[in-house]
Amino acid sequence: MAMTIDVERVEGNPSVAVVSLDGELDASNYERAIEAVRTAYAGGARGLVFDLSNLGFMASSGLFALHSALRIMRGDTPPDPEGGWGALHEMAADHDATAANVRLASPQEPISRVLERTGMSRLFGIDESRDEAIAALQGA
């Protein structure tokens, strides 16, 4: 399904990448979202805001993308969903550690419902706006 990804850098301490997801996040595009986060981290971003204000739908593969983003921003390697048994045994970090440097901004009601139902909302700071999320990360 259609989804556009826009990445903006907000300099400060830490440098924050704002990844805006517009459309529907599902199995056809979740790897692009992960790749956007990977690129931002490699480029020096140490804080991440997912702006979800224009995301109308998120499939279970979207949950996987959010969790992978959390791992990338912790400096871990996320699992390869296409990998074999070796990929399934390579993880070592705590599963339930939250990432203080990843926040979700303005999720719409259907997205909030999925995050609540699955417990994923416990892993992320959730803010009402993009600006609030950036401020929370940069201590403004």
């Binding site: 259609a2 279970s60 949950l63 996320p78 296409e82 990998g83 339930d96 417990g119 892993l123």
Partner: protein
């Protein structure tokens, strides 16, 4: 993989994996007095990560306690399928050992978190159908089951549940209970049903699923499964499936009609 000095093509490996996985996923015939069970499973790719199970609870009395499980492993393809193959007997063993859906999911979670860190996670619903019609279940982030009442009253989603398996050290789930009267059916599904999309991008959605199940209070478990899968397939049209689809319907058998009239089964032509 080498076989007799020759290299096996990956397509052949996948075909073998697909056959093995389908044999693991498909339900053996479960003949348990008092219950009808029907299911369908359609992987989005050659192999998938959804699964379900239905089996009599081991060593319990009365013996017609039926355990049902449905789950959706995050990710697709081989890694999800391998985790599915690992989890399915794990949950079954936990249920055989404890008979308690909450404890079975907690044990499964602990193994996935403490011993087998995979980075993947799983939504799972596990429950026991009691002979008196009570369905005692626990849900780890799974879609809410839908109850289709036999008396024609509105269909309803059965709430309850906690976080999905594989992310947290403890799930702190609660046992939920819903009662099935004779003829009531419980529809368990994975998000491949509601997330199915047609070529213009519109999703099948929960509202459409409810709509097609409304008015189906006399349908058998097999008829309910067929109604849902045919509707999803027709809706999708030429669009490729985005996700695995698993559907499991458990119906408490309707009582036989008084002699002289057609039986409930006869009316439905089963």
């Amino acid at each position: 993989m080498e076989r007799a000095g020759a290299r096996w093509p990956i397509d052949e490996e996948l075909r073998v994996a697909q056959r093995i996985q389908r044999s693991l996923v498909l339900l053996p015939k479960v003949d348990l007095e008092g219950w009808e069970i029907a299911s369908d499973y359609r992987p989005a790719r050659e192999i998938g990560g959804d699964f379900f199970d239905a089996f009599p609870v081991l060593g319990t009395d009365p013996s017609n306690r039926l355990c049902v499980v449905i789950a959706d492993v995050s990710g697709k393809g081989i890694s999800a399928a391998m985790l599915m193959a690992f989890l399915r007997p794990l949950v079954r063993a936990a249920m055989d050992h404890t008979g308690d859906p909450v404890e079975a999911l907690e044990r499964t979670n602990r193994i996935l978190v403490d011993e087998r860190r995979t980075g993947l996670f799983v939504t799972m619903l596990c429950g026991v159908m009691e002979p008196d019609g009570a369905f005692r279940f626990a849900s780890a982030g799974h879609e809410m089951p839908l109850l289709v009442p036999a008396d024609g009253s509105p269909l309803r989603a059965v709430p309850g549940g906690g976080p999905l398996i594989g992310l947290f050290g403890r799930l702190d789930l609660r046992q939920e209970v819903v009662r099935l009267d004779p003829g009531d059916a419980l529809v368990l599904y994975t998000d491949g049903v509601t997330d199915a999309a047609r070529p213009d991008g519109e999703r099948f959605g929960e509202a459409r699923l409810r709509e097609i199940l409304e008015g189906q209070h006399e349908a058998s478990a097999a008829q309910l499964v067929a109604r849902v899968t045919e509707s999803v397939t027709a809706f999708q049209g030429s669009a490729p499936a985005a996700d695995d689809l698993a559907l499991l319907v458990v119906r408490r058998s309707a009582p036989a009609r008084p002699s002289g009239g057609p039986s409930a089964a006869g009316r439905r032509g089963r």
